[in-house]
Symmetry: C2
Subunit: 287 residues, 2 copies
DNA sequence: GGCATTATATAAGTATTTTTCAAAGATGGC
DNA sequence: GCCATCTTTGAAAAATACTTATATAATGCC
């Protein structure tokens, strides 16, 4: 799904398997990738305190060809931007810097999610949702607005959809589902007890349970389909909560997938919807 | 705010000013940029049917240094990618393609918004919010969940915040605001009549009205501060509504800015919050 | 048409990268 | 613990790629 590999991450991954000198090379690159893409092999070798052939071998082992091609790969990887800058917001950042960091972090999270999400699971989820007699979205806390947003999207598709953000209501609704219903459980950690219970109940009642959650979490055990979104390490309280962005985008993709499955007769329905809100609006100003 | 120039566009722009041979070079590059970044100067010269020094001169005139550095720039420009692929979802797209397009569209929207948003306005908005006696978020339709998400974020910061998604309630609340209160009005089009009215009322009552909306729309006339987010052309009904993503990210940035202004004593508060939800969760599984 | 200017290429020179190869170091078996 | 073997590393040489200098051709201007 990814356009091209992320060399920086690849280096980080292989760091442990490298020999002493090659690790020096890796560290020198990671310490300052921006400089690296404009350096000659000699400069990098000097910076890493190793010989030039070592750098060359490092490149070959990593991407299969020499240093110039490696620089090109690194440049690309840098441009799409893995966190080569520190994206953690620091207490003394100016508001402009904060904004930049948060936007960049959001984009990175989207890219990462894209790499991890398996296409076939999305396909299956779309199939289930498109055929569901009824769709229910459950979310708690920060996932509450996500569930409501999902409701809004599917509602626009004229589908029988509800969103619940109350544990008790969720529990009752889950118990009342039937085979042919789809329940989408949204949880960042996948470890929120009441929601796990609710998923189990829905599953037992026969509903298809789609979990949008942390892969490997307990919640996944009660899901028919798991759409994995990794829990980013929450090392810093300033860390922006941009995971919600990823959820919303994924749900956008699901909704669009369902729309496409539903076919062209729904376009008419959408047009009608748009028309219906027109008269609450002032006309567009001609520039 | 943009990171680096787009070489490809630059080449296209200069195409007319170039000499015959250099134009051959430019055309050879544009014809197949992917191959170019893995070619030597000799190969490119052969492909363009010119001599090597011509290629070199071309590079110098364009970026001020030689061919290797040019390749690096080209690689970056290729990676961030002017939209080479069509991001409009087509009716016969596979679900995987749909997902990719929607994620890419979301990232593009974030980038665009970042370029347009003026730093100083964000700073001012942060100042207003940090000092507000009370913060109210208003949104309708798709902006409803955005307002609720905003509420959730500021609530975590222990700020006196509410979110209303009902026109009447918004209107009443707006009338009841005072100087020192902040009202954040979220509207995609900026042309939704009731919301414009509400903004006017709040302004008259003395509140600071922050509009997160389409610049140049009627709503902006009743705002103290406008955070512009452009209305993307809605040419296609399949177009994902990823503008919400931009709203949420912007609000993330505002909330983080406020958090930083509030200083370190709030970290303790946040820790307490996190602790308070711990006991509703299963423990993290050790891998 | 001849001169000046610019554009391009050939060839020479320089820098960079890659390969080769041998030495040093690490690893494992006995 | 020592030797054989394999791996890692760097020095030097070879190959490649890039740049500069210079010459020639093309173009435009008077």
């Amino acid at each position: 799904m990814n356009k091209h590999e992320d060399i920086i991450r690849k280096i980080q991954e292989r760091l442990s398997t490298l020999s002493k000198s090659e690790r020096k090379v890796a560290e020198a690159i990671l310490a300052d990738p921006k400089t690296t893409i404009h350096s000659s092999i000699a400069k990098l070798a000097a910076r890493a305190q190793v010989s030039e052939p070592t750098v060359n071998r490092f490149c070959r082992s990593l991407i299969g060809s020499g240093f110039p091609d490696f620089k090109v790969s690194l440049a690309q990887s840098l441009a799409t931007g893995t966190p080569y800058v520190n994206l953690n917001v620091e207490p003394d950042d100016a508001p402009g810097a904060v904004t930049t960091k948060i936007f960049e972090a959001a984009k990175n999270n989207l890219t990462r999610a894209q790499e991890i999400l398996p296409e076939h699971l999305i396909s299956r989820a779309v199939d289930v949702l498109a055929q569901a007699r009824r769709i229910e979205f459950y979310g708690l806390g920060a996932s509450g607005p996500v569930a409501q947003d999902a409701h809004h999207k599917f509602f626009r598709l004229n589908m029988p959809v509800v969103a619940y953000i109350d544990i008790l209501v969720q529990r009752m609704a889950a118990a009342g589902t039937h085979p042919g219903d789809a329940v989408v459980v949204i949880s960042y950690t996948g470890r929120t007890l009441p929601l796990i219970e609710t998923a189990r109940v829905a599953r037992e009642a026969g509903a298809s349970v789609i979990g949008i959650t942390n892969p490997g979490s307990p919640l996944t055990e009660h899901c028919s389909i798991v759409l994995p979104i990794e829990e980013t390490e929450d090392t810093d309280i300033y860390t922006p909560m941009s995971s919600r962005i990823v959820y919303l985008t994924l749900i956008d993709a699901l909704a669009t997938g369902v729309l496409l499955k539903r076919g062209p007769e729904f376009n008419a329905h959408l047009k009608k919807l748009k028309q219906s809100v027109q008269d609450t609006r002032l006309p567009k100003i001609e520039k």
